[in-house]
């Protein structure tokens, strides 16, 4: 039996903002992790009838808290220096679960395969998924495979979903940053984005730049063990780069953030490639580092703990949260002036000269 839905009971009708103009289309930039994407999500999430969605969510409260996260992977090329779409799909979801202060316990894996993909490539990717999952200690427990006609997808897309159990003492969230918190970064920035771009576009830089893709859940466990409730925010600055992640935290927590340009770890090859392409390393994607906001009194302890693990060996202090310019990220430049660091707008477009 069906009955007409009363208008007032329709969560979509009740919360839907002004519709986007009819002639608007989805642009590639809507998937960039920057402002365009934020606009798109602001348009879509109310239609789900839920509050704003994060990369991961707590789905069972109480003890222990259960965390859920999902992510799709469409990277081209599928194989790049430092990893491939299979290992990336494992690390990406493991890290999204970990950024909730959780220990990932299981993954699901879904393939969308384009007709005609060499079977050998699918085998290679699957072996890479298995290798990465084993190295993370997180099993793939369920999955799905769909094949679509030639041209309906570009080779192979992966979706992974991860379930995790929150670590005892963890209470991190993007809205928990406090004025006075120190901002810690676990490693150099820009490697993944530059590696992908140079492989995809065949730019052939002299020195190979490898993606930093790697799991961060052990680093998170170490940090929570060292800092517990004093670790306020954890975030892996993927698409949109460090600048977008910090802007989101500044807004969500209603704090200002101050950065020191001279303390930002930008590897020489990344700086050079960004210079050539006209990109900002702060906007370039990462897949193997995290940024943390930690209470000042615990920061030294947490930093030392981070540096004991290989993935945190180059961790450093890059700035602090403050009680001024709320929602904004301000950087002291190399020459001693100050500028605001904004989110990426849409796609990063290489400039002319």
């Amino acid at each position: 039996m069906t009955r007409p839905l009363a208008l007032s009971a329709d969560p979509i009708a009740a919360t839907c903002p002004a519709p986007l103009a009819e002639n608007e289309r989805v642009l590639l930039g809507h998937g960039s992790g920057g402002q365009l994407m934020a606009e798109l999500l602001a348009d879509l999430t109310p239609r789900l009838g839920t509050p704003a969605l994060d990369d991961a969510a707590i789905v069972v409260t109480g003890r222990p808290e259960i965390v859920l996260s999902t992510d799709s992977f469409v990277v081209t090329p599928r194989f790049f220096a430092g990893g491939d779409i299979g290992s990336l799909a494992v690390h990406g979801t493991v890290n999204d679960v970990a950024m909730m202060g959780a220990r990932p316990v299981a993954l699901s894996l879904a393939y969308i395969v384009e007709e005609g993909l060499p079977l050998e490539e699918l085998r290679l990717v699957t072996a890479s998924v298995a290798r990465a999952a084993r190295a993370c200690g997180v099993p793939v427990v369920t999955g799905d495979t769909k094949v679509v006609g030639r041209g309906a997808a570009d080779g192979l897309y992966l979706t992974t979903t991860g379930v995790g159990v929150r670590l005892p003492g963890a209470c991190v969230s993007a809205s928990q940053a406090q004025p006075g918190d120190l901002v810690l970064l676990s490693g150099p920035i820009g490697l993944h984005g530059v590696s992908i771009l140079s492989t995809r576009e065949g730019l052939g830089f002299d020195s190979e730049i490898a993606s930093d893709t790697r799991p961060l859940h052990r680093l998170v466990a170490t940090m929570i063990a060292a800092g517990a409730q004093d670790v306020h925010v954890l975030r892996d600055p993927t698409r949109g780069g460090l600048a977008s992640a910090l802007n989101e935290i500044a807004t969500a927590s209603s704090v200002g953030i101050e950065l020191e340009e001279s303390s930002l770890p930008v590897p020489a090859q990344v700086a050079a490639a960004c210079e050539v392409l006209g990109l900002d390393p702060l906007h370039v994607a990462n897949e193997g580092c995290l940024v943390a906001f930690v209470a000042q009194e615990a920061a030294g302890r947490v930093l030392r703990a981070m540096r004991r693990l290989p993935e945190g060996a180059r961790a450093k202090l890059i700035g602090r949260a403050c009680d001024a310019h709320h929602g904004r990220v301000v950087m002291r430049t190399l020459v001693g002036s100050r500028r605001i660091v904004d989110m990426l707008v849409g796609e990063q477009l290489p400039r002319i000269c």
Binding site: R25, V26, L27, L28, G29, Q35, L36, E39, E201, L203, S262, A268, A271, A272, E275, L277, G278, D280, R328, V330, T333, L334, V335, G336, S337, R338, R339, I340, V341, D342, V345, G346, E347, L349, P350, R351, I352, C353
Partner: protein, 360 residues
């Protein structure tokens, strides 16, 4: 890091700032010609640290490409047989009604290339398609674009063409000196790496204005500013070279040769500024068959600028973005009204991305 770190050293930067402060007895107006220089100056906040009025010049190639040319590019890109290739910057520049990124989302085959020779390669691989390259820029990009045409001609690639909107720096400096009050210029280091600086010598002489060929790193710019200030204080007006590691007086003769073969000098309209005599390049008569504007003919293009946009005054350096009513409100990098809000080298985008706001 070689070539980057040594030009970003904070200690040397502060020393140069101190020297500029000591040398300047009044607030001189110095125009940096190139958008890459504007980008560094605003990004590093250099203009806020030196006692000099930095005037941002017209040297953003994306910004000065006429609206009609953008609209023509959009019309050509929309044709089903065309693969339209461009440097990334041009994709977000607003035409009268849309931009190339949106055209792409609607099905136009628009591709970003990193070199015009990539477009030639595409033409070779797609003999059934028309491959068009959007050739814009200053003397910096002209040699590579010339090489692409020469290569396509040599291979007899009948399906390759170029939509050309090339501009030249020295005539723009002359036009600015005719109307604006600028005390000195920082000439664009990369342009001079190609062209040398001999063509700037008559300008310095005629307008009695110091011109310093300057690089793009923070220390380059600070040193260029210091050299210009010293000339002004001493009453000199010479062409000097700060960017000695890249620029020779005669430039790069091979690159100039390729340009001379492929292009001829022509009058050119600059978006926001207007027509400037002998300030552009068009394909030389021998290569007219590679001209996309000729190949695709008149396309019923009528260009309409947004009346709120003051890009012309921004590009001439007579007003700053903070004096524009649309800046940061109706006009943002997300929804640009005018080209200077698009490229990272555009003055408006440089201001916006550095978070500069009008004083309340």
């Amino acid at each position: 890091m070689r070539y980057l770190d040594e030009y970003r050293d904070p200690v040397l930067a502060r020393r140069l700032i101190t020297e500029i402060r000591a040398a300047a007895t009044r607030e001189w107006s110095i125009m940096e010609v190139c958008g890459g220089q504007t980008h560094t100056i605003v990004r590093q906040g250099i203009d806020e640290l030196v006692p000099v009025r930095m005037v941002h010049g017209p040297g953003c190639p994306v910004c000065v490409t006429p609206l009609e040319v953008i609209d023509r590019a959009l019309a050509i890109a929309a044709r089903p047989e065309v693969i339209f290739t461009s440097f990334g910057d041009m994709l977000r520049v607003p035409g009268s009604v849309t931009d190339l990124l949106s055209a792409k989302a609607r099905g136009a085959d628009v591709r970003v290339v990193y070199s015009p020779l990539d477009a030639v390669r595409l033409a070779r691989r797609n003999p059934g398609r028309e491959v068009v390259f959007f050739a814009v820029g200053f003397e910096t990009t002209a040699p590579a674009n010339a090489m692409a045409v020469l290569k396509a001609a040599e291979e007899g690639l009948a399906n390759f063409s170029m939509l050309v909107s090339h501009v030249l720096v020295p005539p723009a400096i002359a036009a600015i000196m005719e109307s604006a009050t600028v005390d000195a210029f920082l000439a664009a280091g990369h342009v001079c790496a190609v062209m040398g600086w001999t063509e700037y010598e008559p300008l310095a002489e005629k307008y009695r204005v110091p011109i310093v060929v300057t690089g793009f790193e923070p220390l380059d710019l600070l040193e260029g500013i210091l050299m210009a200030v010293r000339q002004l204080e001493e009453g000199r007006f010479a062409v000097e070279n700060q960017y000695a590691r890249a620029v020779r007086r005669t430039g790069n003769p091979a690159a100039q040769g390729a340009m001379r073969r492929a292009f001829s000098v022509s009058d050119q309209t600059w978006r926001g500024i207007g027509p400037i005599p002998a300030s552009g390049l068009v394909l030389a008569p021998a290569f007219a068959s590679f001209d996309a504007a000729v190949r695709f003919g008149a396309l019923g293009v009528t260009a309409v600028e947004d009346p709120a946009c003051i890009a012309g005054e921004i590009l001439r350096g007579t007003r700053t973005p903070l004096q524009c009513a649309a800046y940061g409100t109706r006009c943002t990098p997300r929804r640009p009204l005018g080209a200077p809000m698009v490229s990272s080298e555009g003055t408006c985008a440089a201001y916006f991305n550095a978070g500069r706001e009008p004083q309340p």
